[in-house]
């Protein structure tokens, strides 16, 4: 396979700019890039490493890395050989002063994420395990890519990575053709171009300490962060660094408009949780209310600024310029951005439990063999230090049954280490709540009450929950699978009611939710439907009102799919007995599920039926 140069990967311009800034200031911590398979991301990362000084480490992190490989652990062989504790250093320490490359940031094990975050926060790794206590420097630049279709990256990890390129850009057709052409063609110019870039980076690094940023610009960046609803203060620092690096790359000693723009684009925009318009509206509201804050500073500055300061824009003006410049980069639906997706999407660090049976082997702990699998190497490591002592003891008490020669290794119960596996939470409960007009207010309260009890139960068992509400024309996923029962409760509390009953849409959404969850390793799912079953809105609205037959057919069809996919279902009928025409019971039959009538059921009964 031919190796492409950094300069030859076209169509990833913004990503490349980010990488260049990172090369100039490694304290920007890293670059996270959304990319689809085959867009040349790993080639780009490798190309990037070649731009750095010779001998810069490039460590690729395999997704299934174990804890001891990641942070380091006891080097048993050397330890036994020399009798001195020897440590095998981990990948994080190996990447010190170099590049740590992760393909599939969003697929990282939560435990691994934690260790990476911890190393990034401290600039070192700490080993406190297997009788070892040591620290190693681990100042690395993290380059991570992720395929959006696999879900989002853990936000707290993402937050520590300075620059984020949230959208995969393929460029236009011409650029794509160029990729093919270059991939096939010769790379005569590659070395020359790379040399050039290396020189550029070196110069920029020298320039960096000489670049100054004005206070107004700092304030403008802080304002921009607030306007975009960026959480925390880490981003503010990164933005300034990015702006400075950008100026250094251009060989300037002051920060220009374009530097700020690039910085906002790479650091703040991807972290946006709200639109500038929303912020503005809120501010206006606040201004209209009688406030003790005094007159708005903007007007003041405009009127009173003396002539000699006229060409020095105020922070507010700079911010406005910046906002209008990056407007295009803000997607129409902010939820597409990783941080705004808070109330949707999974975050990797949640919903993982350590167990003794299923999932991926994560670590070992002391335990009994009765219900666990032995972790052989850790057991040997645990037993090793005791060998000499035990041999001496045996000689002292004169144990003749076991001669020392016959049992070279003595392993006792206390040495046994068993495997702990990491697994996604055992069960997913999808709450599908009818919020249509036919759910009279009092019944809605009962439904919420029942749901809350179930949520509490799910919390105890560390199950995941998802919440789908349906009313009006269609169903909405209010909370995708998450272990946060609290969030589900909050969503339930503010659930509005009214409108038609699009039951089919709800079943479809539930089915999709379960399927997605399964692809992420949550095999078991139960739908909890809280409805009176009086569906009256079709999935695909045709001309005119949908016929009852059409609606029933859709529900029937979807129910079959749900049954076929082995999804458990419980229908909690919210209809009062005397009014019921048996819709709820029928639905339960379709779904091959259990049926409870809410008005009669006691909370514990419901839990028993569902769990």
């Amino acid at each position: 396979m031919t190796q492409l140069g950094f300069t030859e990967i076209v169509g990833l311009d913004i990503g490349k700019q980010a990488l260049l800034l990172l090369a100039v200031d490694p304290q920007l911590a890293g670059v996270a890039m959304a990319a689809t398979a085959g867009s040349g991301k790993s080639t780009l990362a490798r190309g990037f490493a070649r731009l750095l000084a010779d001998g810069t480490p490039f460590v690729e992190l395999p997704l299934n890395v174990t804890e001891d490989r990641l942070i380091g652990g006891l080097d048993l062989e050397t330890t036994l050989l020399t009798g001195k504790r020897a440590i095998e250093i981990g990948l994080l320490a190996k990447a010190d002063r170099g590049v740590l490359y992760v393909d599939g940031l969003n697929l990282l094990d939560p435990g691994v994420c934690m260790h990476i975050m911890d190393a990034m926060a401290r600039g070192m790794v700490r080993i406190e395990r297997e009788g070892l206590s040591a620290t190693y420097p681990a100042r690395f630049m993290l380059i991570g890519t992720y395929d959006l279709s696999d879900g989002n990256v853990t936000r707290s990890l993402l937050d520590r990575i300075g620059m984020i390129v949230p959208f995969a850009s393929h460029g236009d057709a011409r650029a794509r053709a160029e990729i093919v052409r270059r991939n096939n063609g010769a790379h005569d110019d590659r070395l020359v171009e790379e040399q050039m870039l290396r020189g550029l980076i070196e110069m920029a690094r020298e320039q960096l300490p000489r670049v100054a940023i004005q206070d107004e610009q700092i304030e403008a960046l802080s304002r921009a962060a607030l306007t975009l609803g960026v959480e925390g203060n880490r981003a503010d620092v990164f933005t300034i660094r990015a702006a400075l690096a950008s100026a250094a790359l251009a060989g300037r000693s002051d920060v220009a408009e374009s530097d700020l723009e690039l910085a906002v684009k790479l650091v703040l925009v991807p972290r946006a949780t709200r639109t500038p318009e929303a912020t503005e509206a809120e501010q206006q509201e606040a201004e209209q209310a009688p406030s003790a804050n005094g007159p708005a500073p903007t007007d003041q500055a405009d009127k009173d600024s003396p002539k000699d300061e006229q060409d020095k824009p105020t922070p507010e003006q700079i911010e406005q310029l910046l906002m209008s410049a990056v407007e295009m980069d803000l997607p129409a639906d902010l939820a597409n951005l990783p941080f705004a997706a808070q109330r949707r999407g999974k975050t990797g660090s949640r919903g993982v439990i350590l167990n003794n049976r299923r999932g991926r082997y994560a670590r070992s702990i002391a335990g009994s063999l009765r219900e666990n699998k032995i972790a052989l190497l850790p057991t040997l490591i645990a037993a090793a230090p005791w060998q000499k002592i035990r041999r001496q003891e045996r000689l002292e008490i004169g144990d003749s049954r076991l001669s020392v020669e016959k049992s070279p290794i003595s392993i006792r119960k206390e040495d046994i280490r068993v495997k702990r596996f990491r697994d996604k939470a055992g069960m997913l409960f999808v709450f599908v709540v009818d919020a249509s007009g036919s759910m009279a207010l009092n019944r809605m309260r009962e439904a919420k009450g029942a749901a809350t009890r179930l949520l509490q139960n799910a919390y105890v068992h560390r199950d995941q929950v998802a919440l789908i509400a349906f009313r009006g024309q269609s169903a909405r996923v209010l909370l995708p699978p998450s272990p946060s029962t609290d969030r589900a409760k909050r969503e339930l509390d503010v659930l509005p009611t009214g409108g038609g009953t699009p039951l089919a849409s709800a079943l479809l959404a539930a089915l999709q939710t379960v399927k997605q969850a399964r692809s992420r390793g949550i095999p078991q799912a139960t739908l909890v439907l809280m409805t009176d079953g009086r569906a009256n809105v079709a999935l695909r609205p045709g001309e005119g009102p949908a016929s009852k037959e059409q609606i029933m057919q859709e529900i029937h069809h979807l129910s079959r799919l749900i049954v076929f996919d082995n999804i458990n279902a419980v229908v909690i009928d919210t209809q009062a007995n005397y009014l019921s025409r048996g819709e709820g019971r029928k639905l339960a039959e379709h779904l091959n599920g259990r049926y409870v009538c809410l008005p009669n059921a006691k909370a514990q009964q419901i839990i028993n039926v569902v769990a």
Partner: protein, 369 residues
């Protein structure tokens, strides 16, 4: 030990941290009176939670320990005949036998950072592998709990820590002793420390059982004031540019805070809790339906520490008001069916105001604030 410490790894000065007053206050009160029972800091990411905790070490007054004692014991602790300390560390046996001859030394209050991947043997201590391998000798090698004795134990991302490890920590924190029994190694050493945990609730919630074992619960949110944010960024940049110079510039503030803490530590045992204030805080806990007496006790201790910190000999209602939210918010029973869903802070404030109003009405002698 193969500890390779980093000399140029200076912590950000505690006094240079902008805002987040509640967290800072909770930490300081626990320094003044460790019996308050630790702090849980929960809040947004990137808001300086771990920076603040790690900054604490530098403003803590130093303590006296027996020279070289790995358990950081005070000289008088070794003398105490009723403290059945069982240790197996070389070198100190002499001091234990003849406490009068033991030399003492001043050390900074330990702040031990517990990494998430820590294994139980390193937390509690285990036999020294090297000694065992080479000489076949059972020597106990103390773990992080020993290091943390008389200091602070900090767990970042506490909500992500393995459950069994959290249980161990809380048990030790509650009893003040770490006990290790294994194949003839039998160790029991003091491990009194203030447990400080931090985390982002978004990453997963803390088990309710763990929640109320922390004395105080500080909440922390993103600062939305532009001027403050700019100040945060500027200080951070100055620190990153030259940590030594930055710390030097803040040394005066640091010293003055350290002195204030030392003074408060001396004063706190003499702080008086007037009966009427005691009544108010008992009534407060009752009205809020808080189980057990840990709520009252924590407020009483925290309020006394707050009084001492402001150099007062008497707990005032203002002190109670200052500490009550952090002492109680994680102890309120959560009623998920509560239609109003009142914020726990609001609830506490409302009850407080009611009580203060009643009290003012009853006696004019104590102005509320």
């Amino acid at each position: 030990m193969s500890q390779t410490s980093n000399p140029n790894d200076k912590a950000f000065p505690f006094t240079a941290i902008v805002g987040q007053d509640e967290m800072k206050l909770c930490l300081l009160l626990n320094v003044i009176d460790p019996r308050i029972g630790g702090v849980l800091v929960m809040g947004h990411r990137g808001t300086g939670k771990s920076t603040t905790v790690r900054a604490l070490a530098a403003v803590l007054p130093s303590i006296t320990r027996v020279a070289g004692d790995v358990y950081n014991r005070a000289p008088e602790e070794i003398e105490q005949p009723d403290a059945p300390v069982k240790t197996a560390h070389n070198g100190l046996r002499d001091a234990e036998k003849h406490p009068a001859r033991a030399k003492s030394e001043r050390i900074p209050v330990p702040v031990v950072d517990l990494p998430l991947g820590a294994t139980e043997d390193r937390v509690c201590g285990t036999i020294d592998i090297e000694q065992a391998l080479t000489r076949g000798v059972k020597t106990f090698e103390p773990g992080l709990l020993a290091q943390a004795n008389r200091g602070f134990l900090y767990i970042d991302e506490v909500n992500l820590l393995d459950d069994h490890l959290v249980d161990v920590l809380l048990d030790v924190a509650a009893s003040g002793w770490n006990v290790v029994e294994r194949e003839g190694v039998s160790i029991r050493h003091p491990a009194r420390f203030v447990l400080v945990g931090s985390g982002n609730p978004e990453e997963g919630e803390l088990r309710p059982q763990l929640l109320d074992r922390f004395g105080m619960h500080a909440r922390i949110i993103t600062i939305t004031d532009v001027a403050q944010r700019v100040e945060i960024v500027k200080r951070r940049r100055a620190f990153d540019a030259d940590a030594a110079v930055f710390c030097e510039a803040w040394e005066k503030e640091q010293r003055s805070l350290r002195n204030r803490i030392t003074r408060a530590q001396k004063l706190v045992s003499q702080v008086e809790l007037p009966d009427d204030v005691l009544m108010v805080l008992a009534q407060l806990c009752m009205n809020l339906g808080i189980d057990g007496h840990r709520g009252e006790l924590t407020i009483a201790r925290a309020a006394a520490a707050a009084a001492a910190f402001s150099n007062s000999h008497k707990v005032s209602l203002a002190d109670v008001r200052l500490v009550a939210p952090a002492c109680l918010r994680h102890r309120l029973r959560r009623d998920p069916l509560d239609a109003e869903r009142v914020d726990s802070d609001e609830k506490i404030e409302r009850e407080l105001q009611k009580l203060v109003a009643v009290k003012d009405h009853g006696s004019e002698t104590h102005p509320a604030e």
